[in-house]
Amino acid sequence: MFELIGVPPAVLFGQLLLGLINGAFYAILSLGLAVIFGLLNVINFAHGAQYMMGAFAAWMLLTFAGIPYWAALVVAPVLVGATGIVVERLLLSRIYHLDHLYGLLLTFGLALILEGVFRSQFGSGGQPYPNPLPGGQNLGFMFLPNYRAWVVVLSLVVCLGTWFMIERTKLGSYLRAATERPDLVQAFGVNVPRMITLTYGFGVGLAALAGVLAAPIYQVSPLMGSNLIIVVFAVVVIGGMGSILGSIVTGFGLGLIEGLTKVFYPEASNTVVFVIMAIVLLIKPAGLFGTAK
């Protein structure tokens, strides 16, 4: 076996794969944030908690109802998305006329409530979730576990599908128009409040889907969201919030960079995303794909 820059290839590609998987989660989560922000102008701080709820929904469906992973992949995001719709109707819809900061604070409070409830019910330790796709492929230079390949493929499909829906379909053009001028779109007979509600539900559903995908890889734990969400915020700042494509590219890219850092300088692997954020802010304050506002 050859060595690549002093690192055995199995280690290098192993970490790159891990990075790609983390990147897949960053991409789906920052995509969900971008979709919600686009129409609601709310930074959904509860996104991490909703991701955690997705994982727990899958775990509960399996443990209490015997519903397997493949069904949970659809059912859990729908259920959690429905809670998102309730949240939007009951709470978020009351603060749209206020400064953006109140949306952030409200969803932060929501995140605390969700995390607290799950912690008091399930403790801070994790619950295991069986791997629905055991085994893997030997690619010669590395071993590729089936489930991880599935995660990367599915998240790419979901990300590109969302991008296509927003940028290339009629529904997407309504959404984009409503982002610019909700009053005008309303005047053309589009039910903008309902669109806002469904958009929030969809964004929350995306977070929950990421949670279901994460369940077999990480422990299903009440803390899984709060640790991830801050990295996702950094991804959002780097990518620039305005762009759907920006969240996808930046999410995967930063996951890979994190994986590489783990190989060459493991001490910095927790902070590399934030260091990149600082550098990007210096050069392009609006983010890589963002437009200055």
């Binding site: 009351r94 400064d99 109140y102 604070l105 409530i113 902070t271 210096l282």
Partner: protein, 335 residues
């Protein structure tokens, strides 16, 4: 923009400027006197360590409020200044043998330097982006503290000795230390009041109200924002360092992002942009944590509920709502 009460003065908006200033000053002095009186009497009724905790967090919230209440910048990463100064102060006192006042100064200096670097980066973005940038940088600092050897990792810096103040005044007695902390808090509180009511503070408020106009008037907005950020960071550092002296402990809790959230909550509950709001808010939240600690994880839920309720129902905070009520009553009395 964020709602805010007229500085807790409660004078009607129509009053002439000079009279309003005078009236506001008188109200402030009465409230200040009441606060000092409560502060002096309190240790005879409540546990001094609990009161010192309230004072440390009250100062932390006041420092945070300097930024959110008067410049309109929501920092979600203030734990890095609070906790960073706590570590520096703890290390200085325990390992380098500094006296408490030097330890606190060292902590403040560190927080000020860190604040300069972070502020310089963060003020490039506004609003929620600013919040996310400060949060992310604070998380980076958290990981730094987790990995660097001098912070003691998961254990933190423990058993920090309570050395005598200036080398002579003993601080081992809780009541004595309480009055020292009270004096420090009052000094910092008056400093913040002074900053807010200086020409510099007026410019900050102008930036909060209408940044493009402030720029067009020729103010170098970035400099004002950065200076406000550094001042806020330094005072937050003072709060963290004081906390280290009181509890003889500096740990990862102080730099964790939950701490940044708590200070936001204290300020929001008390009243953003009011002079006394953060003090009241800190008192409420610290008391809540103290008396609810028996219910375990539900404290988190309670805090979240308070957060949501504050945003939906009383955005002006306790002090802000009272001030608005007083203002309404007076307006009715005169009209």
């Amino acid at each position: 923009m964020l709602v805010r009460a007229e500085e807790t003065t409660g004078t009607p908006a129509g009053a002439p400027a000079a009279a309003r200033r005078q009236g506001g000053g008188a109200t402030f002095l009465w409230l200040l006197a009441a606060m000092v009186a409560v502060g002096v009497v309190a240790p005879f009724f409540a546990y001094p360590v609990f009161l010192m905790k309230v004072l440390c967090f009250a100062l932390f919230a006041c420092a945070f409020n300097l930024l959110i209440g008067y410049v309109g910048l929501l920092s979600f990463g203030h734990a890095m200044f609070f906790g960073g100064a706590a570590y520096v102060c703890g290390y200085g006192i325990k390992t380098l043998g500094l006296t408490p006042e030097l330890g606190i100064l060292a902590g403040m200096a560190f927080a000020g330097l860190l604040g300069t670097a972070v502020g310089w980066l963060a003020i490039r973005r506004q609003g929620i982006y600013f919040a996310m940038v400060t949060l992310a940088l604070a998380q980076m600092f958290f990981f730094f503290c987790l990995q660097t050897p001098f912070t003691g990792g998961e254990d933190g810096i423990q058993a920090i000795p309570r050395r005598p103040l200036f080398g002579v005044i003993p601080t081992t007695d809780d009541t004595v230390l309480y009055f020292i902390v009270l004096a420090l808090f009052l000094a910092a509180f008056l400093l913040i009041y002074r900053i807010v009511h200086s020409p510099f503070g007026q410019v900050l408020k102008a930036i909060r109200e209408n940044e493009p106009r402030a720029i067009s008037l020729g103010y170098r907005v970035e400099r004002y924002k950065l200076l406000a950020f550094v001042l806020s960071a330094t005072l937050a550092g003072m709060a963290g360092a004081m906390k280290t002296v009181v509890f003889q402990l500096a740990s990862l809790t102080d730099v964790a992002w939950q701490m940044s959230g708590e200070v936001v909550l204290m300020t929001l509950v008390g009243g953003m942009g009011t002079v006394f709001g953060p003090v009241v808010g800190a008192g409420i939240i610290v008391a809540m944590q103290n008396y609810l600690s028996g219910i375990g994880e539900w404290v988190l839920v309670t805090q979240g509920v308070v957060f949501v309720a504050a945003v939906l129902l009383f955005r002006r905070g306790v002090v802000g709502e009272i001030a608005a009520l007083v203002k309404r009553l007076r307006a009715r009395g005169e009209g």
